[in-house]
């Protein structure tokens, strides 16, 4: 543990490659994400997109056949988490600290819902994220979200460099 493995900061290309390896697993490998049928769409540094295919099982009100707000909430939470994860320098796992969601309109029955999240600021352990959910037209969103995520305690495990020394030397 004493050896000073000063891992050089990975290049943007390296980070992106790693993100694209991890992100699909993070989205579809999460039990709740799997249960809801989340579909990984894309990931970028500090951004992520996930789709929720329309499913009659997740209708919130039989009278309207609109997908439950809760399913959209879970989708936005997951997408914000993806953006948070990809924003931290070390790709650690994250947990929601605060989530605010505004529902602008009912989603169209039958349409998939797409959530796009962007992290606009990340400190060492905290990420601030904004996201929207839409059913085809990003300019006519179904819902918007604002979230704060933190790295989880076990999160100092760096997925980017699994063998990284945890003692960050001050040169």
């Amino acid at each position: 543990m004493a050896e000073k493995t000063k891992a050089p900061k990975p290049s943007k290309a390296e980070t992106l490659t790693r993100l694209w390896q991890i992100a699909p697993m993070m989205v579809t490998g999460t039990p709740h994400g799997k249960a809801l049928g989340f579909r990984f769409v894309s990931v970028d540094i500090a951004a992520g997109t996930i789709a929720l295919p329309y499913n009659v099982k997740f209708i919130g009100d039989k009278k309207t056949r609109v997908m439950a707000g809760g399913a959209v909430t879970a989708l936005l939470d997951q997408t914000c988490g993806l953006a948070a994860m990809s924003a931290f320098e070390t790709l650690s796992s994250v947990a929601t600290l605060d989530l605010r969601i505004d529902y602008m309109r009912a989603a169209s029955p039958g349409e998939d819902i797409i959530a796009e999240a962007r992290c606009y600021k990340a400190t060492r352990n905290v990420a601030f994220i904004r996201a929207i959910a839409h059913d085809g037209d990003p300019d006519d969103p179904v819902a918007s979200a604002q979230a704060i995520f933190m790295t989880t305690p076990s999160g100092n495990r760096d997925y980017m460099k699994p063998m990284k020394d945890s003692t960050e030397g001050k040169s």
Partner: protein, 144 residues
Amino acid sequence: MSKPVNPPITMEAVKTRLAQMPYAEVLGVEPMLKDGELTLRLPYHDDLIGNPVLPAMHGGAVSAFMEITAILQLALTGDSARLPRTVGINIDFLRRGHPKDCFARACIVRQGRRVANMRVSAWQDDIEKPITALHGNFMISQDD
């Protein structure tokens, strides 16, 4: 407060309303009624996990559960066939959700004609130690 007192909540009414929400059935939400006070139970199952390593419940799953609790509580105080709709909610994650049953109770802070302000608390072992708290506004659907 000169508002008319709402009729007591019956288990039958709760079940009718819950049957209207397929998503609540998928989550496995179960109602519990005591002294006219409604508590919802979210029985643990593996599909609710968000982080299998910790493990921790999915924030979205608990949020959805609290949203259902709020909508159900509000629906039981009105007679609209359509369920209330969420306008805006704020969720604070206070503690990690462990892989075990979760409970939630909602209260109507203020009910207007069109909008109701609600608070929901969700807990696992100890009601005094909530794992998440929700507050937000819900639109009361008008039948038209």
